[in-house]
Symmetry: C2
Subunit: 277 residues, 2 copies
């Protein structure tokens, strides 16, 4: 693991690190904010999964998470959204290939050799973080934006016991039913739609739910709201009687201005779960 | 004036606008955050001047000012750092020409026709803002980062009565003595160094001072600290017995992680002055 940069921020350190991933088989970059408390021992960890076109950097510099994480004494990790490098397959479209890993393990050519983002987030990166940083891996929560909200919700429901709470900003909640999902699942997973269900949080909600609190914010003026389908997750959560707070925020859109506005709420929400014994 | 974008943020609106400036004689873009209170009437205005290489956008998306401005009911304007466009003179160096206007009126070729950033910030943009937005122009304060901190300090001391308070993050405080100043003043103002003094906040501090509170933060690990010379401003302020809080922040560097860390302090500092009657 190589340190790309470390900047003092809010009493802690915002670092950027690079490592060779065994799952994506390429160099991966991630950001990690460690609060001041990490000097004295392990701290809880919040995962922030980013959306389409983003790298590890966008949320790290634009989402305003560090201020609130510092206040709560929580670390935040900002992984990349896909494998990277010249040997990695790509597509001209912004929503397929690099920057659009969709947090799944691809089984189809030409994607399968590197597009293993599920295993990267669920196994590879946690192992590295546990080994190299003062993190209490028994206290993890997860959030994300748009495609990253999809990743947060599907990982949380599929790995019971891993995350104490899950939240999302404008998540893609029903990708098997929209163009932000069907196109990518066809490419990455193939045409057998039965393999897609494990990556649709509205379907997972009906089948499994989540053993903990859920918080989801979506803007009423989100320009992509027809692709996000917050109503699908809302219906599934209601049918399941899932503990959840699903909010529609008047006038907000899909941007980081929306994300940063509600970041304080989300970090406080996770802190409550992370510090419950 | 043309609206480029408007995003709901922290209960208010983060807008980006374009207009033809009479002083820089080109199209200029600026960001303006209006808090929720602006719907009901004029609100105080905080100027944020950005540093070298920045546009109106960097601080708008990275400095985290909106959260605290919303809390205080204050508008924040984010001007660009130079004239723009194909007909505007430029230089290959990052610290001269576009992105490096240094908040002065150039008198030398080829810069003079467009590089009139002092008048743009002092006259042109305020007129437009007063005309088009619900702003209480009797309640203005000013801050900035690096080159923008230089701009904030020199404007505040040169326009008595205009700004109620001034602050700066890692400002260039003694440009007549360093390579972040001598090079640019030679180019923009010519070799007669007597014309430079009006743009050196340490010299202005000795000569004029500021009729109000000053807050300046600089990181002890700032990689450019030899070019900033916080000691020059500190010495001048002490000799003048100027009301001022000059802080050196342990371990912080020159980045937006530093700026965002102390933004809450700076906005609260300005709010106290802006809301004093």
């Amino acid at each position: 693991m190589e340190t790309m940069s470390e900047n003092r921020a809010f009493g802690g350190v915002q670092g950027v690190y690079n490592h060779l991933s065994q799952t994506t088989r390429c160099e991966m970059t991630f950001g990690l904010f460690l609060p001041e408390e990490a000097r004295d021992g392990p701290v809880p960890l919040l995962w922030y999964l980013s959306g389409l076109t983003c790298t590890h950097e966008n949320a790290m510099v634009k989402a305003g998470a560090q201020a609130w994480a510092a206040e709560q004494g929580i670390a935040v990790v900002f992984p990349d959204t896909s494998p990277r490098g010249e040997k990695v397959a790509d597509d001209d479209a912004y929503d397929l290939g690099k920057g659009a890993g969709f947090y799944l393990n691809a089984t189809q050519k030409p994607w399968a050799p590197h597009y293993q983002m599920w295993d990267y987030i669920a196994e590879d990166l946690p192992s590295l973080l546990q080994e190299r940083f003062p993190l209490d891996m028994t206290r993890q929560s997860i959030t994300g934006h748009s495609m990253g909200g999809h990743g947060a919700l599907t990982l949380a429901m599929s790995l019971p016991g891993r995350y104490r709470s899950v939240s999302a900003f404008a998540p893609i909640t029903n990708p098997t039913a929209t163009d932000w999902g069907r196109k990518q699942f066809s490419a990455y997973l193939g045409n057998d739609e039965s393999t897609w269900a494990a990556h649709d949080s509205s379907l997972l909600m009906r089948e499994r739910g989540f053993d903990g609190p859920i918080l989801v914010d979506t803007g009423t003026d989100d320009q992509f709201i027809d692709l996000l389908r917050p109503e699908a997750l809302a219906a599934a959560a209601a049918e399941r009687r899932q503990q959840a707070t699903l909010r529609l925020q008047k006038g907000y859109d899909h941007s980081y201005f929306f994300v940063s506005t509600f970041m304080e709420d989300h970090v406080a929400f996770h802190a409550e779960a992370l510090y419950a014994d």
